[in-house]
Amino acid sequence: MSLKSTIIENLDFAVYGRILKKDSRIYLQYWFFYIYNDWKRDIEGVNNHEGDWEMVVVELNQDQTPLRVGYSQHRKIIPEIPLIRGGEVRDWEDLVDSQSIEEGTHPVVYVARGSHASYPESGNWSSEFNGIEIGEVYHGDDLILRPSYYQLLDIEKGYHWSWIREDYRWGMHNDSPPSPVAQGDKWSDPGAWMDSLQ
């Protein structure tokens, strides 16, 4: 039995949620933990590592009207490849217009194969860097996890998830990502993080 099939059979899908009120805004963070980033498995992929934390955040104003959605993409930005970005921010109304909101309130996230970067629309890109062709595919043509298919775990309510709040590195190697709590504005000031991406 392959590792993949073992994992899919045994794990229950889960998303870690967190609510943050800051500067008259409400931020709904959705953190995704993947045990492995195997972007390199694609010919164009790079940057394999264990313990992959990704995130999308929904920004609401005080009366709970959605304003923006931020999509985390890559922690390490390579200036020479503009398409490798720290993330992407979209206005809610734009997402509604582009049908990237399901049932009125659920942002659609197209997860890039292997890298697990988050995109608001399906697509792919490729670029050459130091003679290596790299790129991402996020067609969304396979498994779909709607909210009813995964456990939504409130980080603030689960003491046994407290390690999420500790500054660990989630893998053997230095390129493994740090805990969400150690990811700077993405954790502590999502509004500022989104501003930095626009």
């Binding site: 590792l3 709904l28 390690w163």
Partner: protein, 326 residues
């Protein structure tokens, strides 16, 4: 005939006069064209009835009144009141009466002339009196004559955001608590209580603030209290959970709760934290074909305190001893 009075009419059968004699017999004299005017057998000549007008004299015997018999009638000292209601019934019947039979409408009866009856249940009751004498019997029935109401008590009311509840509030909503009291005419001294059973304990309102001590918020004789706003506050500072608010009065004014004399109302408020927003805006994740990993619970990856993430079963000690490594 000591006295007569003209009753003359202009046409047809008509009484001409009425008179009474010293024995009280009454005579009516008149004229008729009727062919079948009733006549006393042996009277002057019935063959002359009809045709031209004939005279007649009718006699009303003075002792007719003796055949009227009995007339049932009664009164009650009160016909409406709270339970238990004691009513004094008084016979007002006329005629020669030898027995009385009362039916009070609640299954009880009496043969007394002026009974007292106590109603121990609420509702409308039909009362009847049957009187009997040598001249016969008569029954007087009065539908729904007695109305017995609930015992008069103070009626407290508490509303949350103008609702009797339960209501649901989110943490950006405002909670308004209003209370009112219908004292129903009762003016006893009383303890006035406003309490809140919250996820973090039981608290009692005083005009100096909330306290966890069992103290009434106010002490005074009962009075009619129109809608009074006690509280108006945002709930953003309150933990999520169920809040039950109590408002009432204790007519034993001793600073403590005497449950038998407490009249209160409750309202339930469910304060929901922002966590519902997490579900409301939870994303839809779409993966591409060939994907190997999906978001999962961290603890699902733990096997013998380590994460097994490679097919060769190399143990990456990400969580060995509960700590990650670089």
């Amino acid at each position: 005939m000591p006295k007569a009075h003209s009753l003359r009419q202009l046409s047809g059968d008509a009484a001409e006069s009425i008179s009474i004699d010293s024995s009280g017999n009454i005579y009516v004299a008149g004229r008729t064209k009727s062919s079948d005017f009733p006549t006393t057998p042996g009277a002057y000549d019935t063959a002359y009835n009809g045709g031209d007008e004939d005279a007649f004299v009718s006699k009303l015997d003075a002792d007719l009144s003796a055949d009227v018999g009995v007339w049932a009638n009664f009164t009650a000292d009160q016909t409406e009141g709270s339970c238990p209601l004691t009513v004094q019934f008084t016979d007002q019947s006329t005629g020669e009466i030898t027995s009385w039979f009362w039916e009070f409408g609640d299954g009880e009866t009496s043969t007394e002339q002026n009974p007292t009856h106590t109603y121990n249940s609420t509702g409308y009751f039909t009362v009847s009196l049957t009187v009997t004498g040598p001249g016969g019997s008569d029954t007087e029935t009065r539908e729904d004559y007695i109305h017995v109401t609930q015992v008069a008590t103070p009626v407290a009311d508490i509303k949350a955001n103008n609702s009797d509840g339960p209501i649901t509030l989110y943490q950006n909503d405002t909670l308004t608590i209003t209370v009112s009291l219908n004292n129903n005419g009762i003016t006893e001294d009383a303890d006035w209580w406003l309490a809140a059973d919250t996820p973090f304990g039981l608290f009692f309102f005083t005009f100096d603030g909330w306290t966890d001590a069992w103290v009434p918020g106010y002490q005074s004789p009962l009075f009619y209290l129109d809608s009074f706003e006690v509280l108006n506050m945002p709930v953003s500072g309150l933990p999520a959970g169920i809040y039950t608010l109590y408002f009432g009065v204790d007519t034993v004014m001793d600073g403590n709760v005497t449950w038998d004399s407490v009249y209160y109302d409750t309202v339930v408020v469910n304060i929901i934290g922002y966590s519902y927003l997490l579900e409301k805006y939870a994303p839809v994740l779409k993966f591409s074909s060939g994907e190997g990993y999906y978001p999962t619970r961290v603890e699902n990856m733990i096997d013998n305190s380590c994460i097994q993430i490679k097919e060769n079963s190399t143990c990456l000690d990400l969580f060995c001893d509960g700590k990650g490594t670089d």
